[in-house]
């Protein structure tokens, strides 16, 4: 009986794993290895595209309220405009340990890939008791093992490899939480919080949250 239940659980686990990880595996097989700071665009293995190749670190965006565009489509909006959105490119691990092997502690990191990561505030926000005006900002951070300094900067529409600290708007220090799992693709999302939202940065075995209130 015990053996049967063990086998049953094993089979279930395998099915679950293969269902969940299939997408990522497919993607990785078709991409070539590159350094995260490469500004060269990599041609995917199969598709021919003479115009604009699909990036190995694809762009993504997240809104707060979460899924604002979908809520708008569904006629379920509770606010006339969103509070915030973040636009960032998603590098992936490819077997590397990012916070130990690739990024250097104490040096600025663009919090993504390619173009600078952009945070747009549609209305004024408060972060760690500091008022931040509505507008477009870029984000970068200075990671340390136990905390990150997250920087809001005015130098928008730029490439993430070079930061101009003279255009810094504000700096916030937030703690790092280590996780037991490892996340393949760098991820930014807004999570609903008591007074607003947490902007979550997650990659490899690290999670960092920047709390915003609106």
């Amino acid at each position: 009986m015990k053996i049967t239940s063990c086998c049953f659980f094993l089979v279930l686990s395998i099915i679950f794993i293969s269902c969940n990880s299939g997408k990522d595996e497919k993607k990785e097989n078709t991409t070539k290895k590159t350094t995260p700071d490469s500004i060269n665009r990599i041609l995917p293995a199969k598709p021919v595209n003479p115009y604009a190749t699909v990036d190995i670190s694809p762009m993504d965006m997240a809104y707060f309220p979460v899924d604002y565009p979908k809520l708008k489509m569904a006629g379920q909006l509770t606010a006339a405009k969103p509070h915030a959105r973040v636009i960032y490119s998603r590098p992936h691990l490819e077997g590397r340990h990012i916070f130990k092997e690739v990024l250097k502690y104490g040096e600025p990191w663009r919090m993504g890939a390619n173009e600078s990561t952009e945070l747009e505030l549609y209305s004024e926000a408060v972060i760690q008791n500091k008022k931040i005006k509505a507008g477009r900002y870029i984000l970068y951070c200075i990671p340390q093992p136990n905390e990150w300094t997250i920087v809001l900067n005015n130098n928008t529409d730029t490439w993430g490899l070079q930061q101009d600290a003279s255009k810094d708007v504000a700096r916030f220090t937030v703690p790092v939480k280590e996780t037991t799992n490892s996340l393949e693709y760098y991820t930014m999302i807004f999570e609903h919080a008591e007074k607003g939202a947490d902007l979550l940065m997650a990659w490899d075995n690290v999670e960092v949250r920047l709390p915003l209130s609106f």
Partner: protein, 186 residues
Amino acid sequence: MKKAFFLFPVLCFSVMIVAQSNVPPVDKSPLDISYYPVNYPVLKIQDKITEPLAARVMYSRPQKAGRPIFGGLVKYGELWRLGANEATEIEFFKNVHLGKKKINKGRYTLYAVANETTWTIIVNKETDTWGSFKYDAKKDVTRVVVTAQKTDTVVESMSMYFEKTTSGFNLIIAWDNIKTAVPFTF
């Protein structure tokens, strides 16, 4: 004991996969961005900017994936969201013209109606929305008809980018074997 030992990593791995499932996977129609001047962000860090930022377009890139696109997936004569996921967004950082219509600097949503030889490009005021499901013609800023050119190569991922012209810039839209140019002038 042996069984328990064998089961432990399986359990851990299952938990790990469950823990990951609350974050968004990489989209199969990835988001992308194009600027005019072309590659403006790279030019900026190289100190090679020769003209001010004029426009950027942000869109999700569906794949052909073996399907006939125009006249197939995208039906002729019907409204098309010109991308995937969130509505395709164009932002002008200065006033531009499309045909004779002046478009004030700001953010807009783009839609299209594809036909065999021409496309209608729609500039609409409703931003931060999803696809074309809530399209409201009352919020149109302007519409323009452009020529749909056949290309020799087949483009797998829908592509949008800018090209310099003598009087402004073209927004090029290419997918499958069709390419169009939307002429913006200053």
